[in-house]
């Protein structure tokens, strides 16, 4: 016979306004096995919890049902209170009579009846609950940071400075990300390279940071505190220890006409190359797809000229396996591909470029040494059109969101252009100017008022080339929508920021969720902005949504603190709501028949094979066994088990059936 206590919370008036709490307590107090029942204004308050604890002791309760808010809110609170009163915390259950009842139904008898039903269900369930002990798992105090842009750099440095080890993985030959491509940054016009490069060097030299460039994460297994990660280090065709970074090979390479990714196709690079002069590490890689030796089997000029004989043509990819306790995703964003705007001739006309290309033109280290020259003929454009919202806020093209950074960088571009081409005329076609941020609005005003940029409120319909000019057809909606045509020398599209290539695959590899745009999803948009739904994996920077530099850095530091907090414990405790395979006396051993269907569906590889041997050491039966450390308690194995040999604590077949019967038979 059970001795269960029922505690009905009023939640001030949140519940009692529509549910008759006294009645619920009274009626459910009459249920079989209920020893004690009461209602109280605020169960979660200190006196409320004291009431609960006293009742447990006084009435020797062996089960508790708290009818209050969502268990997602206060289940830990009440379980802790139970534990303090000497009751196993897993003998405490909550009925959600606030979110699922009082708040969604009007004040009438039906609502009170529903509340009674919900309490009854939990009373019956609690009768079947078992006392369980929390599972303890160790924490590996090393963090993995995926992505070496400004967000990854910040996160890695912050974690490393807390004294924890960091492994950084970067896909490109150098860290630095998009920020290293920028000319100057809004709203202060700091030189991007000048503020970024010292950070890059710090990463390379930090004793706590291990850097893997030209590498990708291939496999992630495990769970919070205990991830196992396989990293593929792509072959650089180079012995990095021997290479001094003298750069002789890059000057002698006969392949010189490969479009330079770092310059966004506005310049060329050789097949053995360092992405940019300030690269970290400043050592070259061979681009095998374009290298004459790998294509034709002959050349090896780099090998001949290398003074330290560091070139390794036969070097293979290396797989590195590491154990980490937390992961920070900082894989950044990408910009739209050229085929996105046929109406703007993007990709067809050389002088229609995107914002990042303009950054390279405006950068002192760029292909034109910072002079604004149009790509087609190298002339200085006297009339330039910037098109904001190129792709952003365009549901027809599949991008509904605002890319957030374009308003500001377009204003910056217009300003930089005006600073460099004094007699030039910049036009900006925009829909709205979104300049929320410290000193942002002031910056935009300066572009308009002091630099005389023509802001035209309207979207561009089409751009075509005629007699060496780009005819931009737009409209001025502030003049009632009258069409206007501008003969421009160059057009810069503020292309939408989109999820990085391969974001979806990476999300699936590391098991985090992502939105319909393939940006990684945070656990809660307001209160958990750097956490993911997967414990132990955090987000930093523009892999989550388009972000500017200060935001990315702030998010990265946020993620780093989360990692540091996690690493401040030697062990983690987990709810023991895991699956288990039943055991029976010999000769049956278990109703498990060893079909291992459970193994095939388990997302955590938590099902192991257990061999039952007889006295002679012969295997007589193979059973499934659940590794409690790995099991996350999803219960998919339970639903699939043909012999019902596997069950799950907290949601066992018996508990679930009891709940259903209690709910439907009043």
């Amino acid at each position: 016979m059970s001795r269960i206590g029922v505690f009905v919370c009023h939640c001030g008036e949140n519940i009692s306004a529509t549910v008759n709490c006294e009645k619920v307590a009274k009626i459910t107090g009459e249920l079989k096995g209920v020893e004690f029942s009461t209602d109280y204004k605020y169960m979660c308050s200190d006196p409320g919890q004291t009431l609960l604890k006293e009742a447990i002791k006084e009435h020797k309760l062996d089960g508790v049902v708290v009818a209050a808010c969502s268990p997602r809110m206060h289940e830990p609170t009440f379980r802790k209170a139970c534990a303090e009163a000497g009751l196993n915390p897993f003998l405490c259950e909550m009925s959600n009579i606030r979110e699922h009842c009082s708040w969604v139904h009007p004040k009438d008898d039906l609502t009170t009846e529903k509340a009674q039903d919900l309490v009854r269900v939990m009373v019956e369930k609690v009768k079947k609950n078992k006392a369980l002990n929390s599972i303890k798992v160790p924490v590996t105090k090393t963090a993995l940071v995926i992505g070496g842009g400004i967000a990854g750099i910040q996160a890695a440095l912050d974690i490393a400075n807390c004294g924890h080890k960091v492994i950084m993985v970067e896909k490109q030959p150098s860290i630095g990300g998009h920020m290293s491509q920028l000319s100057e940054t809004f709203p202060t016009l700091d030189c991007s390279q000048c503020i970024l490069t010292p950070r890059m060097v710090e990463v390379a030299q930090h004793p706590n940071i291990t850097l893997h460039t030209y590498s990708e994460v291939e496999v992630v297994d495990g769970f919070i505190g205990n991830f196992k990660v396989k990293i593929r280090k792509k072959s650089k065709s180079l012995d990095e220890h021997l290479c001094t970074g003298c750069g002789l090979c890059t000057t002698k390479c006969p392949q010189k006409k490969i479009p330079n990714e770092f310059e966004r196709g506005l310049g060329f690079r050789p097949a053995i190359y360092v992405p940019f002069p300030q690269a970290v590490p400043n050592k070259p890689v061979i681009d095998r797809e374009n290298c004459t030796y790998y294509i034709k089997g002959k050349c090896k000029v780099c090998e001949i000229v290398c003074p330290t004989k560091a070139i390794r043509f036969d070097q293979e990819d290396e797989i590195v396996e590491v154990a980490v306790g937390a992961i920070v995703l900082a894989t950044g964003f990408d910009v739209l591909q050229p085929d996105f705007f046929p109406e703007y001739g993007y990709g067809k006309y050389k002088d229609v470029i995107d914002g990042l290309q303009f950054e390279r033109l405006a950068s002192a280290s760029g292909p034109t040494q910072g002079q604004i020259r149009r790509p087609s003929d190298g002339k200085e454009p006297k009339k330039i059109v910037f098109v904001a919202c190129a792709g952003s806020r365009d549901p027809a093209k599949g991008i509904e969101y605002c890319s957030k950074i374009c308003c500001m960088y377009t204003a910056k571009h217009a300003m930089l252009y005006k600073h460099k081409v004094h007699d030039g005329t910049p036009y900006v076609f925009y829909m709205d100017i979104r300049a929320g941020g410290k000193m942002y609005e002031e910056f935009v005003r300066r572009t308009i008022v002091e630099d005389g940029t023509h802001y035209v409120r309207g979207r561009v319909s089409t751009i075509y080339e005629k007699n060496g000019k780009l005819i931009v057809r737009g409209a001025d909606t502030l003049m009632g929508g009258i069409p206007i045509e501008i003969e421009a020398d160059m057009v810069v599209l503020a292309t939408a920021g989109v999820a990085n290539k391969g974001a979806e695959e990476l999300a699936q590899t590391v098991h985090v969720s992502y939105d319909s745009y393939k940006f990684f999803a945070e656990a809660h948009p307001k209160l958990k902005p750097v956490e993911t739904n997967t414990a132990g994996i955090f987000l930093a920077g523009a892999c989550q949504a388009p972000k500017d530099i200060p935001e990315s850095v702030a998010a990265a530091s946020g993620a780093a603190v989360k990692v540091a907090a996690l690493f401040s414990n030697d062990e983690l405790t987990r709810d023991p709501l895991v699956a288990l395979v039943n055991r029976q006396p010999a000769p049956v051993f278990s109703t498990c028949v060893g079909c291992f269907l459970c193994q095939s569906v388990c997302p955590y590889q938590a099902i192991e094979r257990e061999e039952i041997k007889n006295r002679n050491g012969e295997v007589i039966k193979t059973l499934a066994r659940v590794n409690e450390g790995l099991c996350q308690g999803c219960g998919t194995c339970v639903a699939l088990c043909r012999t019902k040999a596997i069950d799950i604590h907290g949601y066992s077949n018996q508990q679930v059936y009891t709940e259903i019967m209690a709910l439907l038979n009043d």
Binding site: P342, E343, K348, K350, S376, T462, Y464, E465, K466, N467, I471
Partner: protein, 305 residues
Amino acid sequence: MKVGFYPGCSMKGGAREYQESVSALAKVFDIELVEIPDWNCCGATAAHNLNKELSLSLPARIMALAEREGISDIVVPCAACYNRLSIVKHELEADKSLSTRVASIIDLKYEGTTQILNIIQFIDKYITDRLEEKVVKPFDYKAACYYGCLLVRPHSILKFDRVEDPQSMDVLVKKAGGDAIDWAYKTECCGAGMSVSRTDTVARLSGNIMKDAVDRAAEVVVVACPMCHSNLDMRRPEINKFLNEKIDIPILYISQVLGLAVGLDAKTLGLNRHMTEVNLPVKPVREIPVAKEPKKVVNTQKLEA
């Protein structure tokens, strides 16, 4: 090979040469065009400007008649008719109750089983494979392929070619030995049904189109729509007046271009019926039907220039 054929009103009158050239071209490739018996006008712009039910019923009757004859593919060379028929087919497919109502208005069974093909889709489906082998007289001219509105828009319904900078007609012209130029007015509107009621508007819109083609050294404009043709060809005096210059390059239907390439004579193709005389300069016939390599070089040079 038999294919259903809906000529539409203009091909019986103002665009007689379009029908003549399509028929002649089909004959060369052993395709029999079966005219839908007792077809009616699709209602064109007038119907959907003034009344929605009418604009649905008239095309629906045409398709219902075709269904009754067991025709699966209808070639609709007129881009305007093609557009109307496709849209009606789409709308009736999306709304079953509307479909029932229209069926009762036209008093015929309508299921929407026929496939509507525009002239280019027809050529691609039945002719393209055999085109190059039949080219005897490469159409060696710089051609501006003009698609207009109705062939490519609305893309969500027609799903034909790219809506910006379409290429299908350019490909055909190239296969016929021509040089399809890159230009800006491929899909700009010519003024369409305003030809009679707003001649000034048509002169401006069509004038801009002709101007861009001529500025880019086109020797001929190729079209696939009788309405575009009549605006660019018949309205030439108004166009020239608007532009204040004399433009005399001819407007040819795509069927005429291909017809010339496979060796049909001008009369059979109805070239004599154009209001702007067709005086294409005589060029020496080259050996191999299409010299692709040098063409490509010419093209890219121009793009980069």
